[in-house]
Subunit: 393 residues, 2 copies
């Protein structure tokens, strides 16, 4: 079901067949946390900006509206009227980052809802059941994501437990997929490599999970506080130990530069809230770098965010209009900015796929990075603001 | 340029040709206060919900982003990428209702901006110049809108001044349309009948302005606190004195029932913030009455807001999904509700036009009103909430 079409160095150009359609990789998944992309973006909109895969958050949907409700409505695809592949995360990352007063035990995690504080428990089986209720195309294994500053001993202990949890996820997913009333009985399961920035733990873990014949493999626990260089180093160490014949997913990453570097190191799935979150603040991506559309210099700017761009914002509206909408607090302004940024990411992935097919990824990457640095309107303050947003998740 | 196709009782089915396209009347104009419909609705969206005419607010655009900026961007049509007729109000109503510490003089109105408090002046010539900058299809005359409780003497004095202002508007519009650099040199001007609820003042004013050969005539100063019955009475008294061969516009009105009653009395243009504002709060129109989608009974409701409705919300999404989006604070929820409500209004106008063409308006009106009263989910509290919103403007 995963077929490499072309390799260019370590970069992979592949096709991944799922019950909801074939995914062309490398791919950027567009984040729809609570079954909708923030910023008023509809399912029709997604179809107009080249979205291949939607990512939704298990923890959020479990709390509101409840996975049980979505199950009764026929699953997430039917609920949000989406006929493309959907990946759901495990809920683990949010349990560890959003929920209050959590206690980690062998069976799973005890915590309090960040919405109303009520007591909850989530372990591998619960995560699989929730994701099975949602009926996503790809479910993610329930794992612990240790912080970038965690000690070697703690990380070792945590990763061992994550491996035991992975086996339980796999068993539970098999059981759920065998039940007649399951929404999507072909639900796939990806395992997640952890180990913070410790090469030895990461590599040993990668070897162990590679033996488990999962449908894909993610590298998790990155973009949580380590430097970009540390992230790239981990990828160089770990990706060679993950199965080449399975998709590789770098979770929660990242900037266009991060994606280019990771593709070069063999990654083919990405997701990040960066384009939609920055879009809502008027921070926009162009092929010449970031712009902040609130800047006074765009007040009378009668041209689109990026000339020649085929996104719904650039095909029709000027920077002056979009800036006016944001200043007046009109939602349409946010929506147009989010559409532009997601289109930018999705379109960049298309360029990446073509560059790999043509055996020209290295030169494509170099020219893309160069052009994005050229932009003379970038101030380092704007860059920092964007990077800070990105760090938050 | 205004041609009656069919009359059915006093109801008129007409075509109004403008430089931006032909308007089929009776028509409901969709309100885009600051050059965008609130709720993340784009120009493309408007095209998908049967919008014929957009209404934008002169006062708001004058303050932000400034009519000067919009003029430099090529006018409102180009600025908001809209190729349909746009009507702009005069700014008068907002000067009287929103602005602080206003002083009315023969020359115009002195007031303070409701945004930053700075001193401003607007008179007939200023209003025409701003609307000429915007380049709307139809400009409205600058008038005073006396409150429903104003005394006879005050209203008489005010309406006399409004008539003098109308002459100044007409002269200034003629001058502006003769200038080579004017955005839309075919800009039309509608006069506005005032007189609160005093028949004698209303009728005398209607006669006087009818002699002035304007492009259309509005009835203003209604839906500002008087009862529905008083409103209908004013229409019955006044409309017969307005030229039959010109369009008649009832400003700021109203509920579906108001519109049906007014069409029966010869009105063919309408506008109201009611559908978009109620939509943003999850109050939705259906052919069986209002529903409040936040109501718990819709939590697991797997069918659209209205079955068979061809709006972008009903074609694709269930009540359960839209309710979830609103509860989660997702903008998409608001956007879908606004699209549904505007479609409902635009579609009702289409039904009205067909009914008049078929000579069946009276029976159409009766069955429409009956069906909307049938709806068993309406609570009078919901009705009151909606009506209160409507009163606010």
């Amino acid at each position: 079901m995963y077929k490499i079409i072309k390799r260019d160095g370590n970069a992979k150009r592949a096709e991944f067949q799922t019950v909801h359609g074939t995914i062309q990789t490398p791919v950027f998944m567009n984040v729809a946390t609570v079954a909708a992309i923030k910023g008023g973006v509809s399912t029709e909109d997604l179809e107009g900006i080249g979205t291949q895969v939607v990512l939704s958050n298990t923890y959020h949907l479990h709390l509101r509206p409840g996975d049980d409700l979505i199950y009764r409505m026929g699953g997430l695809h039917r609920f949000m009227s989406c006929n493309r592949p959907i990946l759901t995360d495990s809920g683990g990352f949010q349990v560890f980052s959003l929920a209050k007063t959590r206690k980690i035990r062998e069976e799973g995690v005890y915590f309090h809802s960040h919405i109303d504080g009520h007591k909850l428990f989530m372990g591998p089986e619960e995560s699989m059941r929730i994701q099975s209720h949602l009926g996503s195309t790809i479910a993610m294994a329930f794992d612990e994501c240790p912080s970038a500053n965690a000690e070697h001993d703690y990380v070792k202990m945590s990763v061992d437990r994550t491996t035991r949890w992975l086996k339980r996820c796999q068993d539970e997913m098999k059981r759920l997929n065998s039940i007649e009333y399951t929404v999507n009985r072909s639900q796939l399961l990806f395992g997640i490599n952890q180990g913070a920035i410790f090469d030895d733990i990461r590599i040993e873990h990668a070897k162990r999970i590679s033996d488990m014949d999962l449908d894909g493999y993610a590298v998790g626990g990155l973009a949580v506080g380590e430097s970009h260089e540390e992230m790239y180093h981990v990828l160089e160490e770990v990706v060679p130990y993950l199965p080449l014949e399975k998709p590789t997913y770098l979770m929660g990453v990242g900037t266009p530069a991060n994606i280019l570097e990771a593709v070069e190191r063999g990654v083919d799935f990405f997701d990040c809230v960066y384009p939609s979150r920055n879009g809502r603040h008027g921070h926009l991506y162009t092929n010449r770098g970031h712009i902040n559309i609130m800047n006074a210099r765009y007040e009378m700017d009668d041209v689109p965010i990026e000339e020649g761009c085929q996104c719904p914002a650039c095909r029709r509206y000027s920077k002056a209009y979009i800036r006016h909408l944001l200043k007046a607090g009109e939602m349409l302004g946010m929506r147009l900015c989010v559409l532009h940024n997601l289109y930018f990411y999705n379109h960049m992935m298309e360029e990446i796929r073509r560059a790999i097919e043509d055996g020209k990824f290295a030169s494509y990457k170099r020219s893309k990075l160069d052009s994005m640095q050229e932009f003379d309107n970038n101030t380092s303050a704007e860059y920092r603001a964007i990077d800070k947003n990105w760090r938050k998740g």
